[in-house]
Structure formats: structure tokens, C-alpha cells
């Protein structure tokens, strides 16, 4: 019984860490799909880029870990502004098929570039000493790195929610998600809002990719392999909301960890089946607004 309880705590803990990472990465996707109606399958590319920026900054330039996280965010956000202005913005009015193709094209390019620069091997993450080892809590030991992930992500989530729910910028974003034409006609510069929001979402994905580099391995096929997870988080949670993907990410993180722990012979099978069942039951996601 005690052993079972211990494994329960362990699964919940590791699942929460994975879920937090998934949320930080996917929330930007939820916003871009909800706000701009853009099916951005290449979202994982930003997360991968963040991972590479972090590992390169640490291992090659000896940048301290916290600064490397900031760099991952800033670099990816900046790069995404360029991409958004140059390419994405031309396809806002295009059909879903064209957006899907375009973003798959971006994935192919990113995979090739990553393979060319870094090779196919997984990038090791050199954690600082204070994040190695164990963190004692309530008479148990938890890996310090995952504790850090959970706490750090929770702070990010709180900041994000405050930003969207309580600031003027957040009100503008919510107004534009609800009714773009009306938002535009009351004087909101939706074009600039799109660019800013896109940059923020991509930057967060970069941050999540860097933060989770130890959990979701950074290697060239990252955007393909994890795409299903990001899409599942967004579609189960519901487009354009902040709360839905959060619940979905935690659910998936914990369910995935539990499946791998107790039912390793079934792999990710139960997750996929559950996803299909949830989407058949509620096509717009658990917290999505009905179309």
C-alpha cells in the first residue's frame, strides 16, 4: 500500500512537470489558432528552436542557465516576428489546407536545418548544480529540476493569466478573439496585436522547449514527434482559451506518465483513444466555446 502510494505521488509529480511543459509550449498555439484562426502545425519548431538555443548557449558559450532561458524566449520570439511578418501574415486569409501545407513545409525546413547544424543526436542539457539532486518536501525527495519546472511554469502561467485577464493588452486580445471586425472598428490595431501575440506565444514555446529539454528530448524530429501532443492539448482543451489547454495539458501529462509507468506495453495508445473519445463527445474541446 505504501509502495503504491509512493508510486502514485511520483506519477502525479512527474506528470505535473510534463503537463506544465506541455502547457507552456502549447498555450501559444491555442492563442494563435483561436485569435488568428491559423492552423500552425509548425508550432513545435519554435519549441525545438528554444531547446537548441538553450543547450547551445550553455554548452558552447557557458551562459548561466537562467540567462539561457531568457535567451531562448527572446531569440525565438524575435525570429517568430520575422516569420510572421514575412510569411504567416500572407496566409491569414488562406484556406486551412494551404495553412497546413505551408506549416508542414516549415517543419521540413526546420528539421533539415537542425539536422544539418546539430546532427541527429539528442542535445545534452548541462544543468547547473543547484538544479541537480533532490529536493526534500513533506518527508519525500523530489528531483530538484522538476520542482523548478513546476514552480517556474506556475509563475509563468500566473503572469500570463494576469496579463490576459487584467491588463489593457489582454482585454484587446480577448476582444479580438471574440469579434475581430468589431475590435478593429473600435480602433484596435489588430495587425500589431497579432504580431505581438504571435511573438509572445512563440517565445513561450521556445521557453517551454528550453525548460523541458531534459524531459522532451531536443533532436531534429522534435516538431514531428511531439506535434500530436501539442495538437491534443489544444484541441482537447479548446481553441483560444487559456484555462482549457491548462487542464488538458495537466491531464495529458499525468495520464501519459501513468500509462508509461503502469501500462508500458500499451505505449501512448490509451492517450490517443481518450483524445478521440473526448473529441467525438465534445468536438470543440472540454472548455471550447460552441461554434
Amino acid at each position: 500500500m505504501e509502495a503504491f502510494f509512493a508510486s502514485l505521488v511520483s506519477v502525479a509529480f512527474h506528470g505535473a512537470a510534463l503537463g506544465m511543459i506541455l502547457y507552456v509550449i502549447s498555450v501559444g498555439l491555442s492563442v494563435t489558432m483561436g485569435l488568428m484562426g491559423f492552423a500552425n502545425l509548425a508550432h513545435g519548431v519554435f519549441a525545438m528552436a528554444g531547446g537548441y538555443v538553450l543547450t547551445t548557449a550553455i554548452s558552447r558559450f557557458g551562459v548561466p542557465f537562467p540567462l539561457a532561458l531568457v535567451l531562448a524566449f527572446a531569440f525565438v520570439a524575435a525570429a517568430s516576428v520575422v516569420l510572421e511578418r514575412l510569411l504567416y501574415s500572407r496566409l491569414y486569409a488562406a484556406s486551412d489546407l494551404e495553412q497546413v501545407l505551408f506549416t508542414i513545409g516549415l517543419i521540413f525546413i526546420a528539421v533539415a536545418v537542425a539536422r544539418f547544424i546539430y546532427g541527429t543526436l539528442q542535445q545534452p542539457v548541462a544543468l547547473p548544480d543547484y538544479l541537480k539532486g533532490q529536493f526534500p518536501l513533506l518527508g519525500r525527495d523530489f528531483p530538484a529540476y522538476r520542482v523548478f519546472i513546476i514552480v517556474f511554469s506556475a509563475v509563468m502561467v500566473a503572469l500570463l493569466w494576469f496579463g490576459v485577464e487584467r491588463t489593457r493588452w489582454g482585454a484587446m486580445v480577448r476582444a479580438t478573439v471574440d469579434n475581430r471586425a468589431m475590435a478593429q472598428s473600435v480602433g484596435i490595431n489588430t495587425k500589431r496585436l497579432f504580431t505581438l501575440t504571435f511573438a509572445l506565444g512563440s517565445g513561450l514555446a521556445g521557453l517551454g522547449g528550453g525548460l523541458g529539454a531534459e524531459i522532451i528530448a531536443i533532436q531534429p524530429s522534435y516538431p514531428f514527434e511531439n506535434l500530436v501532443y501539442f495538437l491534443v492539448v489544444v484541441s482537447v482543451g479548446g481553441l483560444g482559451s487559456l484555462r482549457g489547454p491548462f487542464v488538458a495539458a495537466l491531464l495529458i501529462g499525468i495520464a501519459d506518465t501513468a500509462c508509461k509507468y503502469w501500462l508500458p506495453q500499451y505505449g501512448a495508445f490509451p492517450i490517443y483513444v481518450a483524445t478521440i473519445a473526448i473529441l467525438l463527445w465534445r468536438p470543440s474541446g472540454l472548455f471550447g466555446r460552441h461554434a
Binding site: L87, R90, L91, A94, D96, L97, E98, V100, L101, F102, I104, G105, L106, I107, F108, I109, A110, V111, A112, V113, R115, F116, F224, L227, V228, L231, V232, S235, Q265, Y266, G267, A268, F269, Y272, V273, T275, I276, L279, L280, P283
Partner: protein, 294 residues
């Protein structure tokens, strides 16, 4: 998306130019005997792309899960067991993933990640044995493709095909005039999945091996790339795309895998940005300019 073949006013008779692919295929059979296995692969992918064109180009359903049916067909041909489903793109992606997981985990049945080998294919109808040069395989694939093409073409030029175009262009109006939109889509999806399954079966029969990659998301993406490259919603786009793609892949990908993926990605982005009709769309445009009339 204007140059779709078929439709209400289209002439259903087969034009002479439509025999071109078959002439090319026969000529290739005699002229390039050392490339027959690549040729058979191309024929299979044409059939596969044709099935995708039916739902993406004509019915307007975007799917990233088509590899599920291709893979299912491939495995069915290997192990003889079946089941299928429908839904929106994410559900389909899920369905493909489920099948991938099943195939990966059902090691005793499928061989897991090592693939399923030792598929023994009996002579076709007990008469034509598969030879090591791939002559039988090539002709067999060509025959199945001919059948698939005939079926798809027939369907597209039928009232059913017209109603599909109607659903794609304005499903609300199709509802309003009393068309059973849902069942039309179910039917076309089923047919498309069946053809994709047949193509998958062909892959197994000609390679005598099934690997997990037939079910992967990348393979569905690649197929979409082939179709878009050729041109969506015009039947023959599904012929041109795989030919160009697979030949280029055969020559380039082995030497420069990194550049190859970079190339596909760039091409895809360029096609979406500048040439939405694919290769055939570009040809159409050039022809119009040559003749000097719209």
C-alpha cells in the same frame, strides 16, 4: 482552385490526352527495365494520391490521417484483419496514431518496429508469378491503378461527383437544396479509404515487407506534398506529383538527405505562396498564355 476536372457541365468522355500517362507507363516498362521496382512504387503512390485527391481536392476534407488507411491496407495484406473510421483532421491524426501504436505494440502479429517480413505472395490468380525483376509487380500495379483511375474518374464525372464539389464550395447551400451532405462525405471518405487501403496492400505485395513507416504522420505529410506538387482536384495532379517527387527522391535523397528535406520544405512553402495549382496549374497558366485566350 478553379481548374477542377469534372463538374456539372463537364464532358465525361475520355479525351486523347488522358491516355498519355498510360502510354508513358508502357513505354517505361520496355525502355527502363532496371527501374521497374521504382516504377511500381510510383504507380502505387499515384493510386494513393488519387484516393487523397478524391477527399482533399473534390470533397474538400483536409486530412493528415490518410496513412492510417494506407498502412491498414498494407498490414491487412500482410495479416488479413480490418476495421476503419472517420472524423475531423485531429481525430484522423489520432486514428492514424492509434493504428501506429497498435502496430508497434502488437509485436506477435506485426513484428513491431522491426517490421513484418516473410510475406509470401502467391502468384496472381495462380497464373502470374512475381519475378525478381519486378515485371509482374509493375504490370499488376499498373492494372490496379487503371482500375482505380477508372473508378475515380467515373465517380467525379457523375452527379455524385458534382454534389461533392457542391459540398466543398458551399455545404450550407447543399443542405438547403436537400442534399444528404453527411452521407455524401461518409461515402466518398469510405471509397477513398478503400482505394488508399488497396494501394497499401500493393506496397506489401510488391515489397513483401511491411514497416511501421507506412502508418507514420510523415508518410501522410509526404503524400500530401506529392498531391499538392502535382495539383489538387484535377485527377492528373495525382499522377504528376508522385512521378516528380519519387524520381527526385530516388536520385537526390540518398546522396543528400539533409538537403532533400530542406528542398521539400522550401518547395512546399513556395507552392503555397506562389503556385497554388501545383505543376499542372503552372502548365495550365503557360498554355493559356501561349494560346492567348482565357
Amino acid at each position: 482552385m478553379s481548374a477542377h476536372a469534372g463538374g456539372y457541365s463537364a464532358d465525361p468522355r475520355i479525351r486523347w490526352i488522358e491516355s498519355l500517362p498510360w502510354i508513358v507507363a508502357i513505354v517505361a516498362f520496355f525502355a527502363l527495365p532496371e527501374y521497374l521496382s521504382l516504377g511500381a512504387r510510383i504507380l502505387i503512390y499515384i493510386l494513393y494520391a488519387l484516393s487523397l485527391d478524391l477527399i482533399v481536392g473534390y470533397a474538400g476534407i483536409i486530412t493528415l490521417g490518410h496513412s492510417a488507411y494506407f498502412g491498414l491496407g498494407a498490414y491487412v495484406a500482410g495479416i488479413l484483419a480490418a476495421k476503419a473510421g472517420i472524423g475531423d483532421p485531429v481525430v484522423q491524426l489520432g486514428a492514424a496514431s492509434v493504428l501506429l501504436e497498435i502496430a508497434n505494440k502488437a509485436t506477435t502479429l506485426t513484428g513491431g518496429a522491426d517490421g513484418l517480413s516473410g510475406v509470401v505472395v502467391a502468384p496472381i490468380l495462380g497464373l502470374f508469378r512475381f519475378d525478381i525483376f519486378g515485371k509482374t509487380a509493375y504490370l499488376y500495379c499498373l492494372l490496379v491503378l487503371l482500375l482505380g483511375w477508372w473508378l475515380v474518374r467515373k465517380m467525379i464525372y457523375s452527379p455524385f461527383g458534382t454534389s461533392l464539389t457542391g459540398v466543398r464550395e458551399n455545404s450550407l447551400r447543399m443542405h438547403a437544396i436537400g442534399a444528404p451532405v453527411y452521407w455524401r462525405l461518409v461515402l466518398v471518405y469510405t471509397l477513398s479509404a478503400t482505394i488508399a487501403g488497396a494501394a497499401g496492400g500493393l506496397i506489401t505485395q510488391t515489397n513483401q515487407f511491411v514497416g511501421l513507416n507506412v502508418l507514420s504522420f510523415e508518410s501522410a505529410g509526404e503524400l500530401l506534398v506529392m498531391l499538392i506538387l502535382g495539383g489538387v482536384g484535377r485527377i492528373y495532379g495525382a499522377f504528376v506529383g508522385p512521378v516528380v517527387y519519387l524520381i527526385a527522391q530516388d536520385f537526390l535523397a540518398k546522396q543528400f538527405p539533409e538537403y532533400w528535406y530542406f528542398g521539400i520544405g522550401t518547395m512546399l512553402v513556395l507552392v503555397v505562396m506562389f503556385a497554388r495549382g501545383g505543376i499542372l496549374g503552372i502548365l495550365d497558366g503557360a498554355l493559356v498564355k501561349l494560346r492567348g485566350r482565357p
